[in-house]
Structure formats: C-alpha cells, structure tokens
C-alpha cells in the first residue's frame, strides 16, 4: 500500500477531511457506458467537491467508440448536468482538465501499449506518480482479455506506484466461470491489487452494520441462537427488467441479487467479530460464514428455496406487464424474478436459526432491510391478559430511509393490562440531517486509498457461488412446480414463500 498522504503533507494533519489519496490516474474501460456516466463520474465529482480527489488526478476513458477528448468530455458534462444542474463552466473545466479519451478494441494489444505511453506522459505532466487504477466497467465477457492485456503491457507492475484493478459485478456466471476468472486475473494481478466491487457494501447503512454490531456492547450477548428466532433479509424492487432482459433472462434473481448483495449483507449480520477493522480480517470472517452455509441438495432445494416470476399487475395504480411480456424476454422463459431461500449456517452461534432471504422484481416497493426477530420471553407472565404479544424485532433499513428500529411491547395507559407494540426509531436522515454519500463515491475513494475492506475477495466470490450452485442448477434444468407466472406484479411474491416460515409466529414482513 502507498504511504498515506498525511505523512508527507503536514498541512493535512488536523483537517477533518484527512482521507485524501495519493495522486493517481483512473482508467475506465467501458467509458461510454451507462455506469460511467450515471455513477462513476458523478461520484468523482462529489469527491472533487469535497476535496477528496487527489490534487494530481487524471481520468482516461477507454471504449470502442471513436471520439476526441473534447467529445468525451462534452458527453460526460451532459450526463453530470442531470445530477448537478447548477454545474458552472469554470467548475467543470477545472474538474475535467485532466480527462482524456482513448478509443480501442479490448483485445487489441497495441491499444494497451498506447495506454501505457499515455499514462507515462500523464505521470510526467500531471504528477500522478505512476499510481494507476483500472476500472472494468465493461460486459463481463471481456474482463479476462482486458486483464491479460494490461499484464502484457506491463501495466500490472508496481515499480513506480500502485496498480489496482476494479472489477464490476457479475464476477462469473457460475462457480466454474468465477474460478476461471479468478485464475485469469490472478495470473496478472496479486489479490491485494484486485478490487471486486459490490456496490451494496458502499452503502452507508451496510457499513453501519459493522459499527452497530461491534461498537456497541448491548447487541453481542443476544446475537445468537439462544435469543434470535430467525433473520429476514429482503431486497425488493418495484421495477421490472426494463432494458436488461437479455442479461437478466440468463442470470435470474439468484445471480443478480443473492450471490453478491444478499449474501454479503448476511455475512455482515452473521460473522464473528473480526480481530481488527482491517480488510483481510473482516473478509476472513465473512468467508467463514459463506463456508458455513449448509449445502443445498435436491431435497432441500425443494424445501428451502422458492422461485417466482411476475405476471401482469398494477404498480402505483398503473398496469404493468408481466415478465414474459417484457421486451426481449424469450417466450416460455422460466427465469426466476423472485426467490426466497431458507439458509442455515452451521456455526456454533447460529445453529438452527433460519436466515430467510428474499428478493424480487415488481414488488410493491423498492426496499432493502434486515430484520432480526427475537424469541418470545421464556415465561409469559401476561399470557392471561395479553394474547397478542408481538415478537421483538430489530430492523436495519438499508434503503431507502436508512435507519434502525427496535420494536418492543409496552403497556397501554389505563386500568387494564393491555400491551401495544411501539417502535424506537433511529433514522440517519433525521439524526444527521445530511444525505449519505453515494456508494460509488465511497468505493472509489477506498480503492484510491488502498483500503479493500468494502471489496470482495476472490475466495468469498467462489464460496458464494458454491453455496448457490445447487439451487441455480436445479432451477435451470427443471421447470417450476407451479406454473409461471406465480405472482402478480405489485404483490410481495408467490404465496409458496410462506412454506419457508415453518412456525406459526413467523411471517414475512410486509414492508
């Protein structure tokens, strides 16, 4: 890792914005794509506005389309204006002064040699000190080629400064392809140079899970099988597949949401305290959880995994088409747009506690949350008076309206012994009255700083695929038991998902 900038510049010490990275160049492959325009450049601009972008910084965009630097910058400016309508010309000029563009095919070796020369030139002219980040925001089928060619051009070497590669999801299509990609990437880059992005980990509330669990002492004693009845993790979307039918139909909800986002959130909830707040210590603990997932077999896939696909319905009062009616979806497709899994973690702490994970498209609203439901008190003193006591719940809302709610019972004022569930509510938006940073902003900064804590290690990716493959394989080779579509757009998924709950006091949360 490069030396922190603080050590070199005494004027930085004592400033609250002290997480300022070393000078560097950021090379974005797929620079004409949606992610660059909609997420990466706005995130860089936010860092710039917060004085968190290094003073010597250069961006080189690469894609197949031919364009000049000026055309590239004009397109980025147009996109940025959507999120920053007040953007002034002088501010834009200053922000983008070291933005460049190179057109090239991803398998053309000469393009990488040209890039190497350009980077050397940038180092000399802009003082970027030989530090390079290569961000792969391309279709996944070219990740391997790009990484290999970067290596052949010597751009993986760290003799002058650091060299890091950021790889967007999906990292592989299944276990085999993920392993193959890991092998390919590791032939060129060392694991410490590889930053596999899952943007969920850049979300403020996801990071706050770590603080909630390990900076407070009140949760740890009850954070296990003795007190927790079950854990529900939900990531629902109100949108359909939109223009992504091509990708989505071959991926489905398990690859799109479970293998990465939901499994990562589950790891943060379930993992043991790491020995240090340091990338590998945290990733070691997450890996243990992924490896502790009780393997699915054919029987348990039927028992513990429910799939669904949305049919036509109504959202916000408007009629919306079913999955099979969406543009680009092959007729008769049985790609799941909804899944619910019951996962058991074979660890001392979580033995017998089901983790109920669900995610789906075209559900009533977009929301992501974790709900930890506690067991009922061992001796119900009030059972003659109070019949409808609700279980205690600790809910961590990841998006939107980030916050934490504790639900507990309290007595209703009056002469009779009646109880009602009340919420103790913490909301980031009200307590701190300022918006959280965008996930990409945080992740780009961390990558520049060499902090891989919020990135996924290669063995984590493989363990997640390994746990999920039996379900994916069975679902891809056998048609659903109940004919698709089996849930209406605008509802909370197929009724079969209730079969996972097992006990009468367990219910899927209505969010």
């Amino acid at each position: 890792m490069s030396a922190p900038i603080l050590l070199e510049n005494p004027l930085r010490q004592g400033l609250f914005s002290d997480r300022v990275p070393q000078p560097c160049s950021l090379v974005i492959y797929g620079a004409s794509g949606d992610l660059t325009h909609r997420k990466l450049v706005p995130a860089l601009f936010d860092l710039y506005e917060k004085h968190l972008l290094p003073s010597s910084f250069c961006l080189i965009g690469i894609s197949r389309s031919k364009m000049s630097d000026a055309e590239f910058k004009a397109k980025l400016k147009d996109s940025l204006k959507k999120s920053e309508p007040q953007l002034s010309d002088s501010l834009w000029e200053s922000f983008s002064q070291n933005f460049h563009y190179l057109a090239g095919s991803y398998d053309d070796r000469s393009a990488y040699e040209a890039l190497a020369r350009r980077l050397d030139q940038v180092d000399r002219e802009n003082g970027t000190a030989g530090n390079r980040i290569f961000y792969l925001s391309t279709p996944p089928n070219v990740f391997g080629d790009i990484v290999e060619n970067l290596g052949l051009a010597g751009l993986n070497r760290e003799d002058k400064g650091f060299s890091r590669v950021v790889i967007e999801k999906p990292f592989g299509h299944d276990l085999e392809s993920a392993k193959a990609l890991n092998v390919k990437v590791k032939e060129t880059f060392k694991e410490r140079q590889i930053y596999r992005i899952d943007h969920y980990l850049g979300k403020e509330t996801v990071q706050s899970l770590l603080v909630m669990r390990f900076a407070n002492s009140i949760f740890e004693p009850i954070w296990d099988r003795r007190y927790v009845d079950h854990v529900q993790i939900t990531a629902s979307e109100d949108l359909g597949v939109g223009t992504r039918a091509g990708y989505y139909d071959s991926s489905g909800v398990l690859r799109d949401m479970f293998q990465n986002h939901l499994f990562q959130v589950m790891c943060l909830i379930a993992m043991e305290p790491p020995v240090a707040f340091e990338a590998n210590a945290i990733r070691d603990e997450k890996l243990k959880i992924l490896k502790a997932i009780r393997p699915f077999n054919e029987d348990t896939v039927y028992q513990w995994a429910i799939r669904g696909q949305y049919g036509p319905g109504f959202l916000a009062g408007e009629k919306v088409p079913g999955y099979l009616q969406e543009e680009g979806v092959p007729p008769g497709s049985f790609a799941p747009t909804y899944a619910a899994l019951k996962i058991f973690l074979d660890t001392w702490r979580w033995h017998g506690v089901p983790f109920l994970l669900r995610s789906g498209k075209r559900m009533p609203k977009r929301t992501t949350e974790v709900a930890i439901q506690f067991k009922e008190p061992p001796n119900l003193l009030f059972k003659n008076n109070l019949v409808n006591l609700a279980p205690n719940l600790l809910v961590v809302r990841i998006q939107p309206d980030e916050g934490i709610t504790l639900k507990f019972e309290t007595k209703v004022p009056g002469m009779s012994m009646e109880a009602r569930t009340v919420n103790m509510d913490f909301r980031y938006g009200t307590a701190f009255a300022e918006g959280s940073s965008e996930a990409y902003e945080r992740l780009l900064l961390d990558c520049m700083l060499g902090d891989a804590t919020l990135f996924i290690r290669g063995d984590e990716v493989e363990a997640a695929w390994e746990a999920l493959m039996p379900v994916i394989s069975l679902w891809e080779t056998t048609p659903p038991e109940h004919k698709f579509p089996n849930y209406e757009a605008g509802t909370w998924g197929p009724p079969d998902a209730d079969n996972l709950l097992e006990k009468p006091w367990r219910k899927w949360r209505r969010l």
Binding site: P10, L11, L15, S17, P23, H51, S55
Partner: protein, 367 residues
C-alpha cells in the same frame, strides 16, 4: 406565574400533543434530539439574530435548544419563558421531524444565577454545546458554571471588541480554568475551507516545497480585524514548525516574522478594499517558496463569486490549477459544520497555542 422546569416540560408536552402549528396538528411528528445547545445573547437585538440562526440550524442538528437573553428593560418580569416547536421534513420527505427551542428572557441579575435552572432543562446523555456569541465575560457565574458543565464552548472572535486581547486571554487561561471543556471559535471553522485548499496545494510531489516557504501574503477585507488571517498565519506556523521572532503584539500588525527551517519567513496581512458585507472575509492567500526551482502557491477568489481557484506555479510556469465551489457560509452553516465533529480539533489547539506565543500576555486580573 413562577417559571419552573416542570412547567416548561409540560408546555412542551402540550405543544407536541397538539402540534406546534396548524399545519402539524394531528400529524404524526417525530421528535429528534441529537444535542443540547445553550446560547446566550447579550441583548434582544443579538437575541433575535441568534434565534434565527438556531431556527436554521435545527434542520441540520435537531436538538434541545435553549436561548437565554436579558430582558429589554427592568419593568419586565424577572424571568419569562417561551417554548417553540421547530418542524421540518426529514430526508425522504415522508416524515415531519421536530425539535424544540426554549427561550428564557430574564433580568440580568437573574441570568447570573440561571445556570441551575438551565441544567434542569438539558436532556440527559446528549452532548452540551454552549454558544457565547460575544466577548467573554469576566467572573460571570453563569458563564463559569455553564462552561464547566458543557462539553464544548463556542465563541466567535468576529464578535470580539478587542480580538487580540480576548484571544490572548483564551490562549492563556482556558485549559487551566476549564480543563474538561473544549473551546472552539466559529472563526476558526470559517477558515477551515481555506486551510483545506492551501493544504491541497502541497499534496504529493509538492509537499517538499513547504520547507522552502519564505513569504506568505493573506489578503483580508479592509476595515475589519485581521483575525482570520492571523489564524491562518498561526496555523501555518504551528504546522510547519516556524517560531515567532517579533515583539508580542497588542494589535494585528501588517507583518509577522517567523523563523522557519530555512530562515526567515514573512507573513503579510494585507487589507484590501471591499464592500462592507464582505469585510471580514479572506480574499486571497499566497505562499512563495525560494528553493530551486521556486514556487508560488495561491488560493484566490474567482470572478465567479461562488468559486475559488487554487493554483501553483513552479519556476514561473503553471503547475497546477483547480477551481472549486466556495459558497458563502452563513452563521448557521458555520455552526453546523463545527457541530458535526465532537472530537477535539488538534489543529485549533496548536493554532491557539501559537497565537499565545505572539499575542501580548493579558492581565488576567482585569475585566
């Protein structure tokens, strides 16, 4: 009617039960408190200004705010109270978030002993911030007790009638008198962005130039004390290991001389003519280095009033330039920025200590 803490709490409960205004009546409100903030205003004009600032601040730091000001004349009752709800839409716009402001108006002699009453109104387990906008009092029991019980005291050296003397006092007595209470100056927060921009000029390969700084010029608005410029000078000196070489000062001089690692360093405080409203601002900071090659590092306000330009020239050739947004910070935004961090600010402590080596030693026995 006698004013009691119980009465005030009851008034607040009634207020929240009904909703603080017609628009909120019957709506689900969420009361949020992240801090206690006690503000003292020396007169009713300042009281009005402080109240406005607290109203604006509430949306960023909802809390229990207590504003204390003297009665306008001696015919008013010894102590009156007002409770006000302040509601706004929280992030996401779907929920009204509210906090409260308690205003206490009292005769001056009552205020001196109002600390116990104020303590009883503080919410437990939340930090206590005490904002004293004007000159610090001398042997004032209210100030002394409040400062002792607070986590942090906020002053504003822009409002000091004699900033040199007041800063000298602060640098001399604060730590010994209030060892457990942080002191912070809003004026220091106001120069935070300047410090950040100056620091940015020396990141990476440029950091080596810091050893060769020989001259610093700081342009500030003519007609106002050079307090902010002085802070920047002290901050640079404390960070770069410069030692003050001149006589102790009783007014801000046009030039301060330091001994740096490679010899004399001049800091010129240069007044520039400006409109009244902008008088107390910094306009430009320049650092000149005399190594080989030489360098000029500047942060100047742009023609676009919303931007500043940070740039450097090495060997008379442009080396670096960056334009950044620089919206004017209103007082509530300055306070908001300062309240975000609860931890001590070592940069401020060192700057104030450096100031203490430059300013004439105060006579602590006199008001």
């Amino acid at each position: 009617m006698t004013v009691s803490a119980q009465q005030i709490e009851k008034d607040l409960t009634d207020l929240w039960r009904e909703g603080p205004d017609d628009k909120t009546k019957g709506l689900g409100l969420q009361r949020v408190y992240t801090t206690n903030l006690v503000a003292f205003a020396p007169d009713h004009v300042e009281g009005y200004r402080v109240e406005q600032i607290l109203n604006d601040l509430a949306e960023k730091h909802p809390g229990r705010y207590i504003l204390i000001r003297p009665a306008a004349d001696s015919t008013e009752p010894p102590l009156r109270h007002y409770v006000m709800g302040h509601c706004f839409f929280g992030a996401g716009k779907e929920k009204r978030v509210c906090c409260d402001i308690i205003k206490l108006v009292a005769q001056k002699e009552v205020i001196e002993n109002l600390y116990g009453f104020t303590f009883s109104l503080l919410l437990p387990d939340l930090p206590v911030e005490f904002w004293w906008p004007g000159d610090l009092p001398y042997e004032n029991p209210f100030f002394e007790r409040m400062a002792t019980q607070s986590n942090r005291v906020w002053v504003d050296s822009t409002k000091f009638k004699d900033p040199v003397r007041s800063l000298a006092r602060l640098s001399t007595f604060w730590d010994s008198r209030f060892p457990h209470t942080l002191l912070m100056d809003l004026n220091w927060i106001r120069v935070q962005r300047w410090r950040s921009l100056i620091a940015e000029l020396f990141d990476g390969q440029w950091s080596g130039y810091l050893r060769d700084v020989r001259k610093v010029s700081i342009a500030y608005g003519e007609g106002s004390p050079a307090t902010r410029g002085f802070f920047l000078a002290c901050w640079l000196a404390s960070r770069l290991g410069w030692k003050y070489q001149g006589e102790r000062i009783t007014t801000f001089p046009p030039q301060l001389d330091f001994e740096g690692p490679k010899g004399k360093v001049e800091v010129v405080l240069q007044p520039v003519p400006v409109q009244d409203a902008k008088r107390d601002r910094i306009f430009a900071v320049g650092l000149v280095t005399d190594g080989d090659p030489s360098g000029v590092f500047t942060v100047v306000r742009d023609q676009d009033p919303h931007c500043v330009i940070a740039q450097s020239e090495i060997d008379k050739k442009p080396a670096f330039s960056r334009t950044v947004s620089f919206e004017h910070f209103h007082s509530n935004e300055v306070l908001n920025s300062g309240l975000k961090n609860l931890r001590p600010d070592p940069g401020w402590d060192k700057t104030l200590k450096m100031a203490g080596t430059i300013l004439a030693k105060p006579d602590l026995t006199k008001a």
